[in-house]
């Protein structure tokens, strides 16, 4: 089992929702905790009657959204200064990424919710390119309900066997992250090709 996960699980058993909130929030902001594996375990704890399923889901969704909004808010407030200072706005890849995010802001925000630690980068980028707040909030909320619900439900369903599925869930999360990155890069590639062929 993940060496980071075991101390987290002790804290979850001791402090329950406070620990879930802390891990999910800091994970959403930047720290790459194994949050999905923890939610899988929380689902199993819920199936054993140790913790509330719906309360855990509500706490996880709230923490995830607040974490994402923290990244978005920081990037929105200080992003412009940062971009000018490091001349990032002259990098063509950044410009392409900006176009991609602005054109399909909702879809990009939504799909990157399933990209694990990459979602923090997407939050910062969404703030940098000034994706409208309400668009970010709604699509972020939608993705953040589906992702922890999936992990908690799987944990609940497999119950005492949850640790056997932890590796499987990490692999699925990795495949999602790689597929999403592939999808975004392929769209940028297509956009550049189309722009310069005109």
């Amino acid at each position: 089992m993940d060496s980071l996960l075991t101390p987290i699980l002790s804290y979850v058993l001791l402090y329950k929702y406070v620990a879930i909130f802390f891990v999910v929030y800091t994970g959403a902001v930047i720290i790459p905790w194994p949050a999905n594996a923890m939610l899988l375990a929380v689902g199993a704890f819920a199936s054993q009657g140790f913790i509330g399923f719906w309360t855990s889901l509500a706490v996880a969704v709230a923490a995830n959204c607040l974490g994402d909004l923290t990244d978005y808010g920081i990037a929105r407030k200080f992003g412009e200064r940062f971009i000018h200072r490091f001349k990032i706005d002259r990098v063509r890849f950044f410009i392409s990424l900006k176009e991609e995010l602005i054109t399909d802001a909702g879809v990009t925000v939504f799909i990157t919710r399933f990209a694990g630690s990459l979602s923090s980068i997407a939050n910062f980028l969404a703030g940098f390119v000034e994706v409208p707040f309400m668009t970010f909030l709604w699509f972020d909320l939608l993705g953040n309900v589906i992702e922890p619900f999936g992990a908690l439900t799987l944990g609940y369903a497999v119950g005492n066997y949850w640790s056997d599925f932890s590796n499987l869930l990490s692999l699925i999360a990795g495949i999602f992250a790689a597929a999403i990155l592939l999808f975004v890069l392929a769209r940028i590639y297509r956009r550049i090709t189309r722009k310069y062929s005109e």
Partner: protein, 137 residues
């Protein structure tokens, strides 16, 4: 100039895409391997996919399941998991730590300067004794 920049970016993106495709294939390979391992261990099977069978995994554990104990588990959780009285382990193991039962096995071993393996084996054998005694009654 603009076209040169664009073709540079295109080639970088192309390499990134190739890398990601390879990464995806590798991850899929590991996913299938893990799935096959779980099937061989009979953790995933057609029978387990039935809801009624799945809910069997949610009841209190029995004496044969004590090996699932891990150092990160708290006494409170173990009591609930095996359905044992809250003070049983405290009395049996003479635990005087005021944090009991909100205390992990690892935390207890650490506070008392005990070997975690020894603590685990004591908790396991006490739990096994209790469950065996109650199941025969």
């Amino acid at each position: 100039m603009g076209n040169n920049n664009a073709s540079d970016i295109k080639s970088y993106i192309k390499y990134a895409i190739i890398f990601l495709v390879i990464l995806l294939l590798v991850l899929c390979f590991f996913l299938v391997r893990d799935y096959v391992t779980l099937r061989h261990a009979q953790i995933i099977s057609a029978r387990e996919l039935q809801l009624s069978a799945l809910f069997k995994a949610h009841g209190p554990l029995t004496a044969s399941d004590v090996a699932v104990m891990r150092p990160w588990m708290t006494f409170d959780y173990i009591n609930k998991l095996f359905n044992i009285p809250p003070d049983y382990l405290k009395n049996t193991l003479s635990i005087r730590d005021p944090s009991y039962p909100q205390l992990s096995l690892y935390g207890y071993a650490n506070h008392q300067h005990l070997n975690i393996t020894m603590v685990m084996s004591e908790v396991e054998s006490s739990t096994r004794s209790y469950l065996t005694a109650t199941s025969t009654n």
